[in-house]
Symmetry: C2
Subunit: 340 residues, 2 copies
DNA sequence: TTGTAAGCGTTATCAC
DNA sequence: GTGATAACGCTTACAA
């Protein structure tokens, strides 16, 4: 609580001018070795470290990168943040985070707060903000939206290729001999329409008929939709769920109905969350290069900042298939509903 | 990228002085309604919002609360951060987050960065920083450590009562008729020694012999230690794991060995992570009031700040038992190892 | 109620 | 190389 030492304190103690201290702190090469040492010593003795805000105010340039995390609870974003963090640190930027709990109004407030720090750039992770608000933010500097489709020329985007990911899963299942492959639709969830489209296209590519069952990105929805699926009486041998948690709901509904996974029915998720990797679960899924997505977002900001790029860039990242125990060759009979 | 409008711009447009704009922005009551309206209109027309850093520099007081999150991936912390966030917002504070990936050096750097913003206070979530570094940080203002025992008078602490939590689990199992209850020890994990102590004390209280099997806060360690447990040939009917993920490892090792949960063996976790609540898993566990912990941390900062408290406060929060399907009455025989 | 002017802790632009 | 001195965008006595 005692007043922190300022540059003037250091200057006085070292017997030099404040300007010289400033040069030393910024590691300027044109300071004599002797003075530099004196300043450095005075600084450590006083426990001085530069005041980041005053520095930015005076230099008129910010080294703060603001990141809006729509949902801190979701480890998916934590992975992206780690990528952002690493890339930002490497570029000499500090990262400040804000959170919005996936509510548009809370996100807008959070963005306001972040912008009040006058950051050099703003990274939005899967924001639910209205596009107009994003456009407004983009008037103040580079904005990158991750996992959100946006056509604004002022905003760069980084997304994973959900179509390709669904395609990977369908290809994998077809290779295992499956033909009756159901997709649980993600409903209102982000990326759900892309994933559905990828599924339908891949099915068509293989000459198979698509079968989409409405669901949501939740465990409960997975349970409910698989129950309905079974009630139809139509046979199926594989389920491509909306995401991992949805797949886990599907798993438990199948178990309740006496269907064994993967002997009777194969199940796949999406996102490769830590859940999918649990021994207990062992879910075949799709993994996005999340750290890379974070890195690319930072890179996009830097390009606008340092190279003056003004045309938007659209990164579409390729996901990777992760095969685990929840998928296996289709049973010759192909009638999953007759197991019990 | 165009220069953001400043207070002077607003003042000029509204035909008033900069000081008056400042008063309006800070919602001072002693401004005439007419001028206030004019200023507000000019501000919205220009899209003006105050420069947070300049404001703090001039007012010599910070409304920034810095939070170090040791591990963003862990949803446990996300819950605490939400509590911090809510309480900070209510008190008119902005929150900035830093992360350290549970590496002491990375955490120290992160704290340095956070302090360069000259925050009003610093909240450390389960830090792995050396105590000396924490003491140093505390020279600059209020510091609160969450989930980390610390005897520094300059630092307030908020922790959950791990002893009580383990006690709740043992009481619950004893009530179900269990006597051969094993504890998987958390090893190097935070709070593990407290949880072990709570287990041992509770066992003693019930006149039972404690049995501690070394483990870690991971799934793999849970698997390995239960395997070793079974190899001993000594009968047991219940397992109090180090935490939830450890318990899930235990579940799968038990399943591999042909032991049914909860018919043959009861299993309990700790932390009430989202994993525990999965239908597929249904783990009995202990829940900490995480949002409250965040709130209390903010409150502690505020007390030092506004009420000038200088004596440290130690909050010890009471956990809650959450009973799910993984625990059940002990089998009369009480011989778990003879099922297969 | 409103305006003037002196900071806040730095960097940038000049001189020397 | 080093040192004055004017910004940076704002708050805050103090005057008016």
């Amino acid at each position: 609580m005692t007043r922190r030492p300022t540059m003037d304190d250091v200057a006085e103690r070292a017997g030099v001018s404040r300007a010289l201290v400033s040069l030393v702190m910024r590691e300027s090469p044109r300071v004599s070795a002797g003075r530099r040492a004196a300043v450095l010593q005075a600084a450590t003795e006083l426990g001085y470290s530069p005041h980041a805000m005053a520095r930015r105010l005076a230099s008129r340039e910010s080294t703060v990168l603001a990141v809006l995390v729509s949902d801190l609870r979701n480890p998916y974003f934590a992975d992206i943040v780690e990528g952002v963090d690493a890339a930002a640190a490497a570029a000499g930027f500090e990262v400040i985070l804000g959170t919005g709990s996936r509510r548009p109004d809370a996100e807008e407030r959070s963005v306001e707060t972040l912008l009040s720090f006058r950051p050099a750039g703003l990274v939005l992770l899967s924001p639910v903000l209205p596009a107009a608000a994003i456009a407004r933010a983009a008037e103040n500097g580079p904005v990158v939206a991750v996992e959100r489709a946006l056509r604004l020329t002022a905003v760069d985007t980084v997304t994973d290729d959900g179509r390709a990911g669904s395609g990977l899963l369908v290809d994998h299942l077809v290779e295992l001999g499956h033909t009756r492959i159901v997709h649980l639709d993600g409903g209102h969830g982000a990326q759900s329409s892309t994933r559905r489209r990828g599924y339908l296209e891949a099915m068509q590519r293989h000459g198979l008929t698509g079968w989409v069952q409405p669901s949501e990105y939740t465990e409960d929805a997975g349970v409910a939709s698989v129950r309905r699926l079974i009630e139809t009486g139509r046979p199926f041998t594989a389920v491509v769920a909306a995401n991992d948690i949805n797949a886990i709901g599907a798993l438990s509904a199948l178990a309740d109905a006496g269907h064994r996974v993967p002997q009777d029915v194969s199940v796949a998720g999406y996102d490769n969350t830590s859940l999918a990797g649990l021994r207990h679960i062992g879910l075949t899924t799709v993994d996005q290069p999340r750290a890379d997505m974070g890195r690319l977002a930072v890179q996009a900001v830097l390009e606008r900042l340092r190279q003056g790029r003004t045309t938007p860039v659209r990164h579409l990242l390729h996901p990777r298939l992760v095969v685990r125990r929840s998928t296996a060759p289709a049973r010759p009979a192909g009638r999953a509903t007759s197991t019990a």
